[in-house]
């Protein structure tokens, strides 16, 4: 068992898998493709297990909170009850059953968007209270925000000059800034990839 704790083993496995997938991307060799498909298939399976681990972890945390009577313990109990109910229904009746579909469409699919919809009201309040032209930069941000909000309103796009100015802001300064971010992120991702393959990332710490 102690040999499995040696970080060199995991670094070597990671480096071999990573290099094989990178090699296959650049060279069209069938054997490399077969190995790459196999490795990515394993990764998909492991990701599936990660979902299960997440479920167990969430369950354990909230069962502990419930049994210890921590703050809002009854909400933890409710969470565990609903989670178990949905899992049991899904496993016994299958997710395509009418009962499971009813719960999904009439509870989950309603509650989720409702939470997001509340943002509209907070944004209205923030528009009045926080969107201030305190400095030149804040003023430019305010003007851009107002123009882009107007152009997002379907009827706002009919106001003379508003679409041309708003689309210019979106297509020129915004695109330039986004390109810089994308390129910077790509260079950072290459660096991160090299560090991971060389075992320099903290994830290897045992």
């Amino acid at each position: 068992m102690s040999a499995l704790k040696r970080r060199e083993i995991w670094i070597t496995i990671t480096a071999i898998c990573g290099l094989l997938v990178i090699f296959e991307y650049f060279f069209a060799i069938q054997a490399a493709k077969d190995i790459s498909v196999l490795i990515q298939g394993w990764a998909v399976t492991i990701a599936g297990f990660a979902v299960g681990i997440g479920l167990v972890n969430l369950g354990v945390i909230h069962i502990k909170r419930f049994t210890r009577r921590d703050a809002n313990w009854y909400l933890s109990g409710w969470l565990v009850f609903v989670m178990l109910l949905v899992v049991v229904l899904g496993l016994t009746l299958t997710p395509s059953s009418p009962t499971y579909t009813w719960i999904f469409q009439n509870v989950y699919a309603v509650v989720g968007p409702t939470m997001w919809s509340l943002l509209g009201f907070y944004i209205a309040s923030a528009s009045f209270r926080a969107l201030r032209a305190r400095t030149l930069e804040a003023g430019l941000l305010l003007i851009s925000a107002v123009l882009l909000m107007l152009v997002q309103a379907p009827v706002g796009a009919l106001i003379p000059y508003v679409p041309s100015i708003a689309y210019w802001i979106r297509d020129v300064p915004n695109t330039a800034g986004m390109r810089a971010i994308i390129l910077g992120t790509a260079v950072g991702a290459i660096g991160l990839g090299i560090r991971t393959l060389l075992g320099q990332e903290r994830g290897y710490a045992t």
Partner: protein, 290 residues
């Protein structure tokens, strides 16, 4: 006892109660839903390009619909998704749905149920002309694995039917077998661009939440995205192009008024700030200077 202030007095003192803002927002959003105002809706170039990209898919081709949007954001992309499904069902093409997160297979099942009559009218059948392959975990790894080898990554559809028994899947082995990729998303498009457009030269259009539009514009100008259907507005524009009114067009008046209300609030807030808070800030600053 605290004196009760009039609304105008509150506005003058820049103390407009949140409740008033919320109630007005609610009224502004509900009125056009109850009584549509019929405000005009111009169609953006990005939506026209998306429509044209679907229209240009040759008969007999396969189309991939990839979905990565959480349930909370689903209402924003649902109108565009429904009308796009109708567009595909009207054409002599097959389509394959694949989901990168756990919520989506049921959401797409619901969307397919909403266009079931349209499918029947066009003589399209599940398993023969379209299929829902369900959720593949792993996000970008799943995208890459599916692009490389479809049967190895998804041996069955979301109901457990082996794909070898689904006629729609015959001839579909990898990303190169799809004439067009439609990406319905509430997050970034970069991973799909990397794994499909850059790696296999796939043609792609996106159906995205409106907040992501500024992040997608570099991919539009580079030609990596052929089109973009932004949020409910894009869905409504697509409905106009398809001449198939739906939930998008029903809510565009509310969207218009909602955005205009936000703009009015921002302007009003700044005017109030100029006349109330700013002079006192200046006085304070000059006091500190002296």
């Amino acid at each position: 006892m605290e004196e009760k202030k009039s609304l105008w007095k509150s506005i003058q003192e820049k103390q407009l109660d949140r409740k008033v803002i919320y109630i007005l927002m609610f009224i502004v959003l509900v009125i056009p839903v109850v009584k549509p105002l019929g405000l005009p809706l111009p169609i953006s170039d990005m939506t026209k390009d998306s429509y044209q990209a679907v229209e240009n898919v040759p008969g007999g081709s396969n189309v991939m619909i990839a979905v990565a949007v959480s349930i909370g954001l689903w209402p924003e992309v649902e109108p565009g998704t429904i009308v796009m499904l109708k567009h595909l069902l009207r054409k002599p093409v097959k389509f394959v749905i694949v989901c990168w997160a756990a919520d989506e297979p049921k959401l797409m099942e619901g969307a397919l149920a909403k266009v079931a009559d349209f499918a029947r009218e066009n003589n399209k059948k599940y398993g023969v002309d379209y299929v829902n392959l369900g959720f593949i975990p792993g996000m970008e790894t799943a995208m890459a694995a599916f692009a490389k080898d479809v049967p190895a990554t998804t041996p069955a559809d979301m109901y457990g039917t082996p794909i070898s028994q689904l006629p729609v899947m015959s001839g579909i082995k990898a990303a190169k077998d799809f004439a067009l990729v439609l990406y319905i998303t509430g997050s970034d498009v970069a991973a799909m661009i990397r794994q499909y457009v850059s790696a296999y030269g796939s043609k792609m259009i996106a159906f995205a939440t409106i907040g992501w539009v500024p992040s997608f514009t570099p991919y539009l100008s580079s030609g990596q995205l052929l089109g973009l259907v932004p949020g409910v507005t894009g869905g409504a524009q697509y409905e106009l192009l398809m001449k198939s009114p739906g939930a998008g067009l029903a809510t565009t008046d509310a969207l218009s008024l909602g955005f205009i209300y936000l703009v009015i609030l921002a302007i009003l807030g700044n005017i109030m700030w100029q006349y109330t808070e700013r002079p006192s800030l200046r006085r304070k600053a000059s006091k500190e200077m002296s």
